[in-house]
Amino acid sequence: MSGIVLFPDALLKVAIRLGRTHVLAAAPTRVQILVETRPSAASKQMTAATDLRFVVDVSGSMAGSTRPGEASKLEVVKRAILGLLESLNTRDHVLLSVFSTQGKLIVPLTRLVNDSAKKRIYDAVQELQPDASTNISAGLELALTPAVATDVLPRVILFTDGQSSDPTTDHPRLDQLADLARTQLIPLSIYGTGSDYNWSLLLQTAARAGGGSFLKHVMDVQTLEGHMIAELAFLRGTAIDRFQIEGRVASADIALVGATALMPQIRNLELRNRNSFIDLTGAVDLHRGAQYLLEVEVPRPVPGETELLHLRFRGRNRTTGQRFEHTAHVPVTFVSQASQQSPVDEQVRKVLILLAAAKQAEAGVYDRAANLYRRGGDGATATVMEGLHAASQRPGADAVDLGREATTHAYGAATEFFTQVHKYQKGGS
């Protein structure tokens, strides 16, 4: 089985690729399954309106820069927000809150109906000044308070460089707010900068909020602005929401040994008793879709066709509200001779190389990561890794800053990779 599965109501297109469709039966044997889902052509709608809620850290440390002689971190954030504002249109909504010792709502949720509304936000952003300590939850709470209208796509965009000044109250409150974001279906885009912020806390907050939330480390205004604009494009292309995928092995002796979501960041999914997983992906856009790499182990395969997995997809057409639920069964054919094996699916191989490259990047072995990205056909990320390798060799290099840049770039590189693949596939068809 390797191809497109189009379900009866044609809202969702699913491609299931096996590492090999015919696999040598050895005890035990692993089989890789790449699941790619995209909204079908029938789901395509006009560009959705967005509801962007900016939450900006204006604590004292934001007055500093990430590198000597460069603009302050707050200036970098301000320029990036102003750049993004240019890309918004009259159907979009914007909110701006800040936090230092306290949270403050600078601009309540406002529709950009005309130029004066946009200018008011523009001026408010320009006037932001660094202040005192850091209370992240106070700013986030203000952004999550207004209800979400039914016809817009919401997203909170949070910028920070620091640790909570009072972790005993701020950290548990952040957990509660992440849960609130999850229930209100407002994903969080968290951007960290510098090497002082609480990386693991924010990563956990993004994971807990779910629905496509992510943490991205940024070192300069170009990276930040470029990433935000790309995310806006993906957000506008959202065709399916409340999307979730569930997988379960087809028989008790088969073990699920790996499940990785590739969008919008690479992340390992929790396996339940080595036989099932579930992931609430949230929004699925037309550009990237949603991809998963699964791996199962069959302890004693017998030549012939064997069912490996049952997959269930649920979601809702964002515009019409029509819900869907589909199931797919994934079989593989075991063969008794190595010569009867089918060739390896090149797309699966590329994903595996990409994951190996991400591991190297996370471990700080940038030159090796660059080689793997190049081998996997992702020249753009390979170039970034080569740059990081060169930077890491310079005296006084900030290893923490570089490591965070590399990790979020590597684990978000799948976004770029699949966008390119889909562009290529569209061009070829």
Partner: protein, 191 residues
């Protein structure tokens, strides 16, 4: 388990790239791994279920060649070490014959034909000392047997005829770690 041609790391059949070095594994040769070879030890009978703890001696390096655990190995019940097990190389050319209980001569002759064997005919013994497995060099110069304790990257030489206690996953080096050598990894079974 099959092993990667590039890094000798083990993988599971069906995997497409090596989990250790990301090398492609789909060439037909990569699927064919040599069978595991259980090395005999005098007084230990193959096919007998061992009661109590055992020690597995894995040959993991011979000079610059590395081998995964489980490729060339011997399993010795800890109780067997109440009588020392000599590690060395069988030599029938002399009388009396030299017959170490754990003979590496055949393996070295197979893997390094024509090369002078690095292991002495009677190189070291494994035995029990106060119920704990120890290694004792038999060669009478001080840099012929080394140990690297698990978790450390430092090799330390063992003076001749002194005992060195072994812990799970320690490595015994017969020869010199930076020169010609055979490395054995000691793996204890769990009680």
């Amino acid at each position: 388990m099959p092993t990667c041609k590039k890094c000798s790391g083990s993988y599971v059949h069906g995997q497409i790239i090596c989990p250790n070095c990301a090398e492609d594994l789909d060439e037909p040769l990569a699927l064919e791994s040599p069978p595991a070879q259980l090395l005999p030890v005098a007084g230990v009978y193959e096919g007998v279920v061992h009661i109590g703890r055992t020690i597995t001696l894995n040959v993991i390096e011979i000079d610059d060649r590395t081998f995964p655990e489980g490729r060339y190995f011997a399993i010795i019940p800890v109780q067997r070490l109440q009588v020392p097990v000599r590690i060395g190389r069988m030599d029938l050319s002399q009388f009396p014959h030299i017959l170490p209980e754990f003979n590496l001569g055949g393996l070295l002759a197979n893997l390094q034909p024509g090369l002078r064997p690095v292991v002495s005919r009677l190189h070291a013994t494994l035995q029990l000392e106060r119920e704990a497995p120890v290694v004792k060099p038999l060669v009478d110069h001080s840099a012929a047997t080394w140990v690297r304790h698990t978790g450390s990257d430092r090799f330390s030489p063992i003076p001749p005829n002194t005992l060195r206690r072994l812990e799970d996953r320690d490595c015994i080096v017969l020869g010199h770690p930076k020169g010609r050598h055979v490395t054995l990894r000691v793996v204890f079974s769990h009680p």
